[in-house]
Amino acid sequence: MLHLVVCLKQILDPEIPPADFKLDPSAQRAAPTASLVASIFDENALEIALQLREKVGDARITAISLGPPSAVDVLRKALSMRADDAILIREEDFPGIDAHGCARVLAAAIRKLPPADLILCGRETGDWHGGLVAAFLAAEFDRPYTNFVAGITKEGDHFHLRRQTEDGWEIVRSAAPAVITVTNDDHNLPRIPKVKDNMMAFRKQIPAWTASDLGLVPASVAGPNSKLEQSRLYVPVVDRKCEIITGDNAEAKARQLVERLAALQVI
């Protein structure tokens, strides 16, 4: 039986109206005023895992998320799309964690599960667009890493990965176990769950693993040990000014316009 592990992150809704976006007073993160959603590429990753299970028949899918308590919503969504199991890892246990730290925590969790044949992540999160965790994860396990995958088939012991490149598609034959990142295309649009599955997902218990469950000392993976530090977070101020060019005729207006543009040093 194949074991597929999908890592999902809950993020601030990227479609939040700009007018509703605020930073919290500490200016360390966005204020949680808007809705929270699953990062879209992570959902694509789950979708192709589901498709792979449909193709091979015998496979188990575990959805895992490192996040705050609200991240259970993302895991419930994964269950309602018919992932078999879901595990939450308490992000509060790892204050100030960076991408490398995330990969180490996720790896520790995945090691506690039955051996994984394929670990799938979104190609990058929809909030910070780092795109690093999966690569670190591959390094943790010392396994092959392929990014920008849009579709998978299983051929014997190997995975055939359809990979998006600048000018087309590349089919990569990868040994298993493997780590991949997933990009979106027309064929991996996340499915809308059936209502029955939705309700079933609400009834399932989702365990929340702590640092000690994973045998990790928070300070060793997060906080002062982080290699990345956030120095400043701010919402850029967009200053808009509107000037109306006047003139007697088109030629005069054009001359005026050129002069103004030159004065502003844009031409």
């Binding site: 479609e15 109206p17 809308i192 059936k194 029955k196 309700m199």
Partner: protein
């Protein structure tokens, strides 16, 4: 001598008639029981409460043909003759039965003269006129709603005509042969008799009478026996169906207990209620539902008539083929797909025109939505356009995927009471803005107009702004009952938190759902559409419109305001309150007969992939009135018709499309004492 007549004049071996009648009854009963069996396969539904109200409605629709006459004057009139002819003649036969077989001698004296002779004669004659009109209608005028022809249709008319003519022949012959002193009380029979006497002589007439009597009897018995096996069944099911009609608020779809229900939505006939199955046999195939159906008019693969008839055929075939196994939701549906195609279900705007037109009150919309529920909730199958809508409703509580508008944008520069900012401050009415009103650019100006009018009139109102979520109307109409209930419960919790009692909204879809559907989930509020609210403000003098350059204005009735909630007057009165305004109507196609703009039932979020555009068809009607302004009262109608009138109007003659609130705001602006914002 007491006026009366001999019952079995000229007839011997009357027992043969009784024997034949017993056979007739047996054939009839067998057919009827088979129908009954089929109906009882449906799930329970309670449709027998409030008998008095049911009876009143039944009388209005049968004795006065209320609905039919509202749209179809001539056909309605002739059918009324038909109906009364049938009733009076049946009553006459019953009188004979009581008089002769029960031995209660009522067929005599003045009653015999006035009723049994004169009245029956007149109605019999009118019945013949109606039958001839029906034949002309079906075979000369040939409206498309009656197509395709079935051999039964013509045969039924001819059969009835023959029964009536032979009846008059019998009567005439008897009057002549018995030298009936009261013959003149049956004028038609009397004239027929003297003509026949001249043609046949006394002996011939006696022979003719004898033969015609048995022939007439055979036809009548044949007719009765045939009822359960033909379209004639509607003689019984149509009135019964009107009696059993839905008395709940029109705008409320049936509530689904999602936790307790095994199969969500309907994918098999047995999952319908017995009343839904009964509906199928009440259809008279008159096609009136089809005439006003925007989907049918625009060549979509949906006809409300064929929807019912296809289900009827399936129901009869299933029953004939033997009992079916119990429903198994995992199995593919024998109904949705094979009998009613998915495209058919996705073509309905839920405009209710079909239900409003159907003379026998068949309920198409709940059937369509319940089958959609199966598609959406059991199979998770729906048109691509709706995927994003559902996702957006789930994640963001509004149906506009990709929108970057905020619900607070429209009131940024207005001083309005946002409840979350000042929860303690009291207010009289909550202005429910709705997703379109807050996020669609064109509708935002309507919302602003409403807010400014309320301010000008000094109404203490408040808004929820970012705390508003979609009412769930689009989710419910596309069949996602689960999502609807989630959204509704969240909104109800918000209302309760702020102690909301009265809600005002400019969106008829929100209006209908808040008013008629939230009570199903325990949310009871007084809900008002802005047309009514503003009209009251004008009537009470709190808003005083002055003349503006409105010109000729035509009002387009929103389905969920008009047909679903019967608000027809207020928007019109509001427009009339503007001095100098001149109001037009689309002849035959306004108020309850208005054609849907094509924006309901999820269509505001779906592209029309087949046929012509529904919005263009409606726009053509509106433009043809020569109006300078098309007034609307719904954000979806606004979007649909703005696009529609632009396309169909002749160059340079495109009417403006304005919400009634915008019309009023312009008229108020003319009154310096009331300029909004002062």
């Amino acid at each position: 001598m007491t006026p009366t007549r001999e019952v079995f004049f000229n007839i011997r071996h009357v027992w043969v008639m009784y024997a034949l009648f017993a056979v007739t009854l047996a054939i009839f009963s067998y057919g009827f029981c088979r129908h009954w069996q089929r109906w009882s396969r449906g799930l329970p539904a309670s449709r027998t409460d409030r008998p008095w109200q049911r009876l009143q409605g039944l009388l209005r629709q049968t004795a006065a043909h209320d609905r039919l006459l509202k749209r179809y004057r001539a056909a309605g009139f002739f059918h009324l003759l038909f109906f009364w002819g049938m009733v009076i003649l049946t009553a006459g036969t019953t009188v004979v039965f009581i008089h002769n077989d029960l031995g209660i001698h009522i067929m005599q004296g003045a009653f015999y003269l006035y009723f049994q002779s004169l009245t029956l004669n007149i109605f019999g004659a009118l019945f013949i006129v109606a039958l001839l009109a029906a034949l002309v209608q079906r075979y000369v005028a040939r409206p498309s709603r009656l197509k395709p022809d079935h051999w039964q249709d013509g045969l039924i008319l001819i059969l009835l005509l023959t029964i009536l003519l032979t009846g008059f022949i019998l009567q005439g012959a008897r009057i002549q042969l018995t030298r009936d002193p009261w013959g003149a009380w049956s004028p038609v029979g009397n004239v027929a008799g003297s003509l026949l006497a001249r043609l046949f002589g006394v002996d011939g007439l006696r022979q003719l009478h004898l033969f015609t009597w048995w022939f007439h009897m055979a036809l009548v018995f044949g007719f009765i026996a045939w009822i359960p096996y033909s379209k004639l069944m509607h003689l019984l099911t149509a009135p019964a169906n009107i009696y059993l009609r839905d008395l709940e608020p029109r705008g409320a779809l049936p509530l689904l207990d999602i936790e307790k229900t095994e199969a969500l939505g309907i994918s098999r006939l047995e999952q319908f209620s017995w009343k839904d199955l009964f509906d199928l046999d009440a259809c008279t195939e008159c096609g009136r539902c089809e005439v006003n159906c925007p989907a049918n008019i625009s060549n979509k693969p949906l006809s409300p008539k064929w929807l019912i008839l296809d289900l009827q055929k399936a129901s009869r075939a299933e029953h004939a083929a033997a009992p079916t196994p119990p429903p198994n939701p995992e199995e593919p549906s024998p109904l949705v797909g094979p009998v009613i195609r998915e495209e058919t279900l996705w073509s309905c705007t839920t405009c209710r025109a079909c239900m409003e037109q159907c003379p026998v009150m068949i309920e198409q919309v709940p059937k369509i939505v319940q089958m959609r529920r199966h598609l959406v909730m059991e199979r998770a199958e729906f048109p691509d356009d709706l995927q994003g809508v559902i996702r957006s409703l789930e994640a963001r509580g509004h149906p506009y995927p990709g929108s970057s508008a905020s619900r607070s944008d429209w009131h940024k520069d207005l001083d309005v009471h946002v409840l979350s900012d000042k929860p303690g401050q009291s207010f009289d009415v909550l202005l429910w803005v709705g997703c379109a009103g807050a996020m669609n650019d064109r509708s935002k100006s309507v919302t602003r107009a409403v807010a400014q009018l309320l301010q000008a009139a000094g109404v203490r109102f408040a808004i929820l702004s970012r705390e508003e979520k979609c009412t769930g109307d689009p989710a419910r109409r596309i069949g996602h009952e689960f999502l609807f209930q989630q959204l509704a419960q969240e909104n109800i919790a918000t209302f309760d938190r702020y102690g909301v009692k009265k809600i005002l909204t400019s969106c008829p879809h929100c209006f209908n759902t808040l008013r008629n559907e939230y009570p199903q989930l325990g949310g009871n509020y007084q809900v008002i559409h802005h047309s009514e609210f503003l009209q009251e403000l004008v009537a009470s003098g709190r808003l005083r419109p002055e003349a503006t350059a409105l010109g000729k204005v035509v009002f387009h009735d929103p389905c969920y305001l008009g047909r679903y909630n019967q608000v027809y007057g207020a928007p019109r009165q509001l427009l009339d309150s503007v001095p100098n305004s001149q109001r037009a109507e689309v002849p035959n196609w306004s108020a309850r007969n208005a054609l849907c703009c094509g924006g309901g039932g999820g269509f505001s979020f779906m592209e029309e992939k087949t046929g012509t555009r529904m919005s263009h068809n409606r726009s053509r009607q509106l433009v043809s009135t020569g109006a300078d302004t098309v007034a609307v009262g719904c954000p979806f109608c606004m979007t649909m018709l703005e696009d529609g009138v632009k396309t169909v109007s002749p160059e340079g003659q495109t009417p403006r499309v304005l919400d009634i609130a915008e019309v009023l705001a312009q008229a108020i602006m003319q009154n310096p004492a009331q300029e909004p914002g002062r």
